[in-house]
Amino acid sequence: MTADLGYGMTLIALGLAVYGGVAAGIGARTGRLAVIESAQHAALGVFVLVTSCFALLTYAFLTFDFSVRYVATNTNLGTPFYYRITGVWGALEGSIILWSWMLALYTIILIVRHRVGARELYPWALATMLGILAFFLLVMTVAAPPFQRQVPVPADGRGLNPLLEDTGMITHPVALYLGFTGFTVPFAFAMAALITGRIGDTWLVLTRRWTIVAWYFLSLGLLIGGWWSYHVLGWGGYWAWDPVENAAFMPWLTGTAFLHSVMIQERRRMLRLWNISLVILTFGLTLFGTFLTRSGIIASVHSFTQGSIGILFLGFLALVLLTALGLVAWRWEAFRSEGELDSVVSRESAFLLNNVLLVAAAFTVFFGTVFPLLSEAVRGVKVSVGAPFFNQINVPLFLSLVFLMGVGPLIAWRRASLENLKRNFFWPVALGIVAAAAAFALGVRSLLAVLTFATTAFVAVTIAVDFTRATRARLRVGESLLPAMGGLLLRHHRRYGGFVVHLGILIIALGVMGSHAWSVQTETTLRRGETAELAGYRFRFDGLTAVEESNHFKVVGAFTVSNGRVLGVLRPAKKFYPQEQAPIAYVDYRLGLREDLYLVLGDFARDGSQATVKVQVNRLVSWIWIGGVVLTLGALLAILPERHKSA
């Protein structure tokens, strides 16, 4: 009953989306407003139907409606209330509903915002959005239907994947999908620009904030994913270069490149072709990421492993890319724009370099991720491409990018004079060298660490120099300090939002460097009452207790931790779920600015007389989360609505 109702609504939504897409296209060609309005109504209908599907599925989860197969496989009577809600998107079918719903939501926002302002581009953008939405609805009806009957209705369901029982489940996928789907809007406008031949700056200006919004959510999703990995998966890290992490990271890299190269076009009318290509690439990579996660082609923690859906996504990806490239080729002549530049040393060059490095990093991630498939196809030999590879190639690229973060914003457009360079970079370079020397004097011997310190100090000082100089200029015209600073941030919120994001990246860079260079770990088996030591911490094994939870069984170890004085008791555990073969580690930790103490319970004797514990002292990891907060605040500042600019 529930299943049939949901399936029916999905079918109607699919029909409406197809109709709306075609109608918007016809309306765009003929210019008939009535047809475009009809397409808008169809879009509204799709949104209402997908929302209803989503609500219906949630209701089915809450009421344990095991007549729906998806509910039966992803929940059971023991699943707590909270995880019955997040369980809705805990597996393939539900995640596609969430995706479609967000796409429909973005479509509605697009209609509300751009219906009036962008007469030429808007109908085509709407048609593109609805076309993409139709594809996802097709997936929901054919390849991964969430509404399928389960006959006979089981008494109890199988249960949610235990790793998904975490508060991160509500924020991580939602933020990530909002980011992924958000890039659809710039893509839709890029398509509209290509179709209409209006490849000038209109589409860029229209989608500028959309892009930052998408970027913001994608960054947030990645950061929350890192935090989740760190505190749930129990391996002591935040980024594993897992294929699906990579899949989310690639559009982030190209999206970041786009956010920067856009500025060259806005300012200098150059790089039009490149910008449109970056948007197409970014959107293509979000589809590719979905393909990777959903097809099960590459084994990963995130994969939903499912058969036919891979082909569907690959086909759609091919269709999108071919269409987009075809349109670009068709409009080729229009892209001929002569840029001009007075000197190689200029902001344009810095931004180009930034784009080259970001896209090269994206390519590295892409090629490393698919290389195992290539190797197996060509040589028949399985290989792994993991963290050591990605770190070795990407760390130098990222460090160069951080360096450019200092150069780009302060170097002059068109031509940087010696005067300009001296004026802007004397102090940053000097203090960068001082930072390197200080790090060396304090006993830092890793070249990478010294370089990181020098670069981050250099960039931080460039930001400080710029901000104090601009503030001083305002003080000179008689403003007082705080209003001057606040006014600067608000008036030039995109520029300073960007600076705050850069600061966030610097802090993250320090955290990543610290955690790689200085973390220590040990693994030891202790009898009850015995004590071990690591990096100044002593931890004593006090025994095990067993706890029965609503849907699993938990063995909790108690370890008293001290460093001279008693710091507290940490309780890492192992959770045993009836539906899982292997137990799930449940880590316990003490977070700190300097270092985190991180305990993972290993094997234990059944009588609780002894246990193996893995202890890690992870250095500076907290800075990654702090940097993440700073970064998202900066992005929010940049998203603020454009204010009317006088002067």
């Binding site: 080259v356 190797s375 290989v383 491409v385 963290a387 190639i393 802007n424 100089r469 993972v600």
Partner: protein
């Protein structure tokens, strides 16, 4: 400029590769850092994309124990790695060995950087030299120019 950048990049990549464990012959009390370094290069066979060093699984813990034993028996890190490769194949290594077909995965990203830099350099060259006629030589920076720079810096980006 770009050539320097390439040189720096290559140097950094090469420097990055010295992180491999070097043979520490004093085998008696096994150096945990060495165990960790070796384990970090090996794939946990039952996990997805976690190294033996990181994985909380039992299998990984056993593999770490094997590394410890073999080091204690006086084997070099290279021997230990070979032992795992012989048993599980190349797949066990988290970064593919740099030879034969695998060179592709190492060199293509570098090639991408080089090609990208060359393309950017060509573009900048065209922008700076592509003007019709000869432009007047850059004049020394005068007060107006400095003022313009200042305005730009303090103004919108």
């Amino acid at each position: 400029m770009s050539r320097v950048a390439i040189a720096v990049l290559i140097a950094l990549v090469l420097l990055g590769s010295t992180g491999h464990p070097t043979a520490a012959q004093t085998a008696k009390p096994v150096n945990e850092d060495l165990v960790h370094d070796i384990a970090a290069q090996l794939r946990c066979v039952v996990c997805q994309n976690l190294s033996v060093a990181d994985s909380p699984s039992e299998m990984a813990s056993q593999m770490r124990a094997i590394i410890r034993e073999r080091l204690a028996a006086g084997e070099s890190p290279a021997d230990v790695q070979r032992y795992f490769v012989d048993r599980y194949g190349e797949w066990i290594l988290l970064s593919p060995p740099r030879r034969g077909f695998n060179l592709l995965v190492w060199l293509l990203p570098l090639a991408a950087v080089v090609v990208g830099l060359a393309a950017a350099a060509a573009l900048v060259w065209r922008w700076t030299h592509g003007h019709r006629g000869i432009r007047p030589p850059p004049v020394a920076v005068d007060a107006a120019m400095s003022e313009r720079i200042r305005r730009e810096l303090e103004g919108r980006s």
